[in-house]
């Protein structure tokens, strides 16, 4: 292969072509990564708005930071197989690792200061097709879209006294949530709460039929209401002490109920409840058998990412699970990298 004579002196035009090709690919890459679009709502931005003014609590979840682990079982009764072919619905008993938690970014928040309570759950059937879910006791979500959630957090953290007013003006759906937050009774136990998926998902049955559903864990324990003031008097960590003693005295149960949407129901908006008469199927029982502190407990390094679903369940037109998955992963990456700030001792070196 003879060398062409023109290669003796550098042909600038050709070098320029090389530079342009390489440069264009690099710019496309940087654009895809979002570095040229400061307005793109990235998982990093969404998670950053959750942080309290003093910055996030290192080593802890960026939201629902206060919590306690539990282990137990899920007994499927077989009814769920009419809705989904997932193995978790085949009659049998499957191990569960979960977490009771409070919707706050502060792991040391006093129980009576936090309105929303949550539960994270991971059910592992023998085929390894896990079902993870993170649910809350509110019957609806504060906002209709992930963007709305970002705006809510931004307004709540803003120094502008008008920020919340402006937010509500553009998100009137928040008022329905406020109505619940102000009016609904409080309880003095994680065991007395009902936990709701709020987000909708698609169930696929053995014949391939798809149905849009939401689900709830309904407590066997009778809720006893208490005022936030009375709860505050019992101490800042009463809920964790109470659930530890309660489960030590006897396992606590919830029944898992799956609700099927009718055509036309608001499946993409967790701020809108579905009418009460929708078909609902009780698919099994969650039994919480043991409580363990979070710091060295089995739920600590689990991300209750709501998109970890078995074959037979998948995401629907609800945009939240995708946004949550992206945000939870970000939170998980940060907190596991900061593990040294949250020692794995039974108390987590809590001050």
């Amino acid at each position: 292969m003879p060398q062409s004579p023109s290669s003796r002196h550098l042909p600038l035009a050709r070098l320029a072509i090389i530079a342009v090709v390489v440069g264009l690919v690099a710019v496309a890459f940087v654009y895809t990564a979002g570095w040229l679009s400061p307005h793109r709502l990235t998982p990093a931005k969404l998670v950053a708005t959750l942080a309290p003014p003093g910055g996030p609590a290192l080593g802890h979840r960026r939201n629902h930071a206060k919590g306690i682990c539990f282990t137990g079982t899920f007994d499927a009764n077989g009814n769920g197989s009419a809705l989904s072919r997932a193995q978790v619905f085949v009659p049998g008993q499957y191990p569960v690792v979960g977490r009771f938690n409070l919707a706050t970014a502060d792991p040391n928040a006093a129980d009576a200061m936090v309105r929303v309570r949550g539960l994270g759950i991971r059910i592992t059937p023998p085929n390894g097709q896990e079902w993870r879910s993170a649910m809350i006791d509110a019957p609806i979500f504060p906002v209709s879209t992930p963007q709305g959630f970002y705006e809510l957090q931004t307004a709540a953290g803003s120094k502008d006294p008008e920020a919340m007013k402006k937010f509500i003006a553009s998100h009137p759906e928040f008022l329905t949530f406020l109505g619940w937050a102000k009016g609904a009774p409080w309880t003095s136990s994680y065991a007395e709460e009902r936990y709701n998926s709020l987000n909708s998902f698609l169930f696929i049955d053995g014949s391939g039929t798809k149905r849009i559903t939401r689900w709830s864990l309904i407590p066997a324990a009778q809720p006893v209401s208490i005022t936030p003031n009375e709860l505050a008097k019992r101490g800042p960590d009463f809920l964790e002490q109470e659930i530890t003693q309660r489960v030590a005295a006897g396992p606590q149960r919830w029944s898992l109920v799956v609700t099927v949407a009718n055509p036309g129901d608001p499946t993409a908006d967790p701020n809108k409840a579905w009418p009460a008469d929708r078909r609902s199927v009780e698919v099994g029982t969650l039994t919480v058998r043991q409580i363990e502190p979070e710091a060295d407990g089995p739920c600590r390094d689990i991300n209750y990412d709501p998109t970890v679903l078995p074959a037979g369940i998948t995401t629907s037109d609800d945009p939240f699970p995708a946004a949550r998955s992206a945000a939870y992963s970000r939170s998980y990456n940060s907190r596991t990298a900061e593990a040294s700030s949250y020692p794995r001792t039974p108390t987590g070196a809590k001050q």
Binding site: M1, P2, Q3, S4, S6, S7, L10, P11, R14, L15, I17, I18, V21, V22, V25, A26, A28, F29, T32, A33, G34, R40, L41, T42, P43, L46, G128, Q129, E130, P146, D301, I302, N303, D305, T307, V308, A311, T315, P319, P321, A322, A323, S325, A326, A327, Y332, N333, T336, A337, A339
Partner: protein, 184 residues
Amino acid sequence: MTTSRTRFTAPQRLLHWLMAICILSMLFIGVGMVSTITPRYLTLVQIHKPLGIAILVLALIRLALRIYYGAPSLPADLPEPMKLAAYLSQYILYALMISMPLIGWGMLSAASYPVVLFGGVHLPSILPVSASLHTLLWHAHYCMAFAFFAVILLHVAAILFHKLVRRDGVFETMAPALTRDHSE
């Protein structure tokens, strides 16, 4: 590892171009997915994992072919530093093609995520659950992804330099399988 052939064998060329498309896509999918919260996030993640594992399998086949068939020798008049750069970049590219997917897989294992490929197909976990291992691999996956992209840009610049400036036939050794095997 050189041969008297003037071109890479057809299976090597096919794999090179197929994988070039896959790997460039993976890099774009990777940085695209971690910067969005829209439902596209899930779609991209669902492509990233199986495509990454496919790259691992193809890279191992490609390595075996490379060891078996070797590579055409570089032009004799290529300056020594450029030869060194050519060899080094090949080692680095192979190392990245094999380690990136393994690190991705290990990172998910260490974080106790199921490694789902398609629908019901799961890969086993290859590492124990560990926050420190996860952190190490997550940082490695991130840094090596950018290194990978940089090395590919250099590789492309170098190949274009061979093709457009030196015109020494190096590009032709890997030219897409459809072009005829002719010597100039």
